[in-house]
């Protein structure tokens, strides 16, 4: 099908090319005859040859040369109206044929050059378009990669925040479970042995020997429980603080980097007032981060519970006196009443439905281990303020 289509177009182009050659030469003849030339008339035939070659190519051009030569010979070279040529007239014909061939050849070369140039230009155009499209595609890919990356970063931030929160709760509850079990076993044994002892004494006559055995077991188990407590104490001493000279501002910023997604999610308006040139403190970076994280998370949760009120968190650093740095975390949450303020730092005291009640207790232990103080006050307006002091690096204990 396609093949025959091609053949058709080729045939029609051949017909057109040679037709044009015939037509242009014929036109040259007619015009030349109508002008009734006195000398050997060639210029219009040159024109016809150029046109035929230009539009039709080399072969139609040659065809036009041959045709024009024959017609010139027939009509304008004596004997007129015959193809025969007198020898004397041969130079005339040659004078036409040679330049005609030359002009045809030049035209054909010129046409080829033109065509090549046009093709080159077309190709260039195509290439430019192709490159532009490629560039556009690359650009789009880049854009989507950037968006993807942003999403990934957000996810990482969120995961970090979740993890920080989870780790806080998990370690707390796991530790509590483990300690509870370790202490509960000897306690259970003590209670049961005590019950047994009473029963040995209650029988008639009392079985003193068995009662003594029971009491001995009670003492053993009491000691065992006390050993457990000793081990826990030793453990807490063993994890010694990794203290270094720190800027409290940097520690706060570390934490804010972690909780930023939480702040955004809860639409909390954060204001930081860092006093310039605040003295450095000497402390354990991770532990201080934990304290600040704990205070900030508490604030966010307190503000989440207080509905219909703008959520404002203010973190402020200043010098309490020349030897101490003061950090304040102030929120516009549900706040604290006088009774709560008394108890919030006790272990297992919580105002939150899902709280463990260890966060503030541990925070206070950490701050006190750093030679500082942690306390809470109710705001005159809504919310609460938690503050802690730390000795400056020069004043380190």
């Amino acid at each position: 099908m396609e093949h025959s289509e091609n053949v058709k177009t080729r045939i029609s182009s051949v017909v057109f090319n040679y037709g044009l050659a015939i037509l242009s030469v014929a036109s040259a003849l007619l015009i030349t005859q109508s002008l009734k030339p006195t000398v050997f008339p060639t210029p219009l035939f040159f024109g016809a040859i150029v046109i035929s070659t230009w539009f039709g190519g080399m072969w139609p051009g040659l065809f036009a040369v041959v045709l024009a030569t024959l017609l010139l010979d027939f009509y304008f070279v004596s004997p007129v109206r015959a193809f025969a040529v007198h020898t004397a007239d041969l130079p005339y014909l040659a004078q036409f044929v040679l330049p005609a061939l030359l002009s045809g050849w030049f035209t054909s070369k010129r046409k080829d050059a033109e065509t090549a140039l046009k093709e080159a230009r077309d190709q260039l155009d195509g290439k430019v378009q192709e490159r532009t499209a490629q560039l556009r595609q690359t650009n789009q890919q880049l854009q989507s990669e950037i968006a993807e990356r942003q999403r990934a970063e957000e996810t990482v931030h969120k995961t970090q925040a979740d993890l920080a929160h989870l780790t806080r709760v998990m370690t707390m509850s796991e530790l509590a479970t483990s300690i509870a079990h370790e202490v509960n076993q000897p306690l259970a044994a003590i209670v049961t042995n005590g019950d047994a002892c009473i029963r040995w004494l209650a029988v008639e006559p009392p079985n003193l020997e068995r009662a003594r055995d029971s009491v001995t077991r009670i003492i053993n188990e009491g000691n065992r429980a006390s050993e457990v407590i000793k081990r826990i104490r030793a453990l807490s001493k063993k994890t010694s603080l990794q203290k270094s000279v720190l800027g409290i501002k940097e520690v706060i910023q570390d934490v804010l980097g972690l909780v930023e997604p939480e702040l955004v999610k809860n639409r909390v308006l954060l204001t930081c007032e860092f006093k310039p040139e605040l003295p450095s403190v000497f402390g354990d970076r991770i532990q201080l981060q934990q304290v600040i994280l704990n205070l900030v998370m508490n604030s966010i949760e307190a503000m989440e519970e207080a509905r219909g009120r703008s959520r404002e968190l203010l973190i402020k650093t200043e010098t309490a006196d020349p030897s101490r740095v003061l950090v304040s975390v102030r929120d516009s949450g549900i706040g604290l009443d006088a009774q709560q303020i008394e108890h919030i730092f006790e272990a297992f005291f919580t105002t939150k439905s899902e709280g463990v009640g260890m966060g503030l207790s541990i925070s206070r232990t950490i701050i006190e281990a750093h030679g500082g103080r942690l306390w809470a006050t109710a705001n005159s307006g809504p919310g609460a303020t938690f503050q802690f002091t730390l000795p400056t690096a020069e004043e380190r204990p």
Binding site: Q185, L187, A189, T192, N193, R199, S214, R217
Partner: protein, 208 residues
């Protein structure tokens, strides 16, 4: 059948808790045997006396709940009282569904444990008595001749001697004799007594 002294088994990996429970139970005169693991308990031959098992939920290796399943899979029927350091509700529900008698949180009050033991042992005693009765009835039933068994089935379905005779193609007198034999061999005092025995033996009530 004699009435052997009940026995309580304790499986807990904590020797102090194990000994304390043993001490308490001995102070009220209950026979106790203690084991550090489920394996040790399984190695002991099965008790012929009414018994119960006090099982710690938190055991190294197989947990108490796993051990409960193991016992069930091995068709070892013994009432279980679970004790645990931390009573969490889903675990309790799971244990109770699997047939535990009680679930006590350490430290427990002595009376709580003793009451649980009494309930468990009483239950086990009833179950054992029932099993023994069924075994005895089955033995008696097996002593019957095939003809007597047919008569017993028809009698317990409420058919009259005449109907039974027609059914079996025998004379009414023959049926009467068979019926007397059945009552005597089964040790039944009355027709309702025999019907009750048939129920316990799961003798097919329907023949048609």
């Amino acid at each position: 059948m004699s009435n052997p002294e009940p026995i309580v088994f304790v499986v807990d990996d904590d020797a102090a808790v194990r000994d304390a429970i043993k001490d308490l139970l001995e102070s009220v005169g209950i026979r106790v045997e203690t084991f550090a693991s489920g394996r040790e308990f399984l190695a002991r031959e099965r008790a012929q006396a009414p018994s119960c098992l006090i099982l710690d939920v938190r055991l190294p290796g197989t947990s108490g709940l796993d051990f409960q399943r193991e016992l069930a899979a091995a068709h070892i029927e013994i009432p279980i009282i679970f004790i645990t350091g931390h009573g969490d509700i889903p675990m309790t529900v799971q244990a109770m569904k699997a047939g535990a008698v009680d679930f006590l949180t350490k430290p427990f009050r002595d009376q709580e444990l003793l009451d649980a033991i009494h309930r468990a042992v009483a239950g086990d005693r009833d179950k054992r008595a029932q099993n023994a009765e069924v075994a005895e009835l089955r033995h008696r039933y097996e002593e019957l001749t095939p003809r007597e068994r047919e008569v017993m089935v028809l009698v317990t379905q409420g058919l009259l001697n005449k109907q039974i005779a027609a059914e079996l193609g025998a004379s009414e007198t023959t049926v009467k004799i068979h019926r007397g034999q059945v009552m005597r061999k089964m040790g039944a005092e009355s027709l309702p007594d025999l019907v009750r025995m048939a129920e316990k033996l799961c003798i097919p009530a329907q023949r048609y």
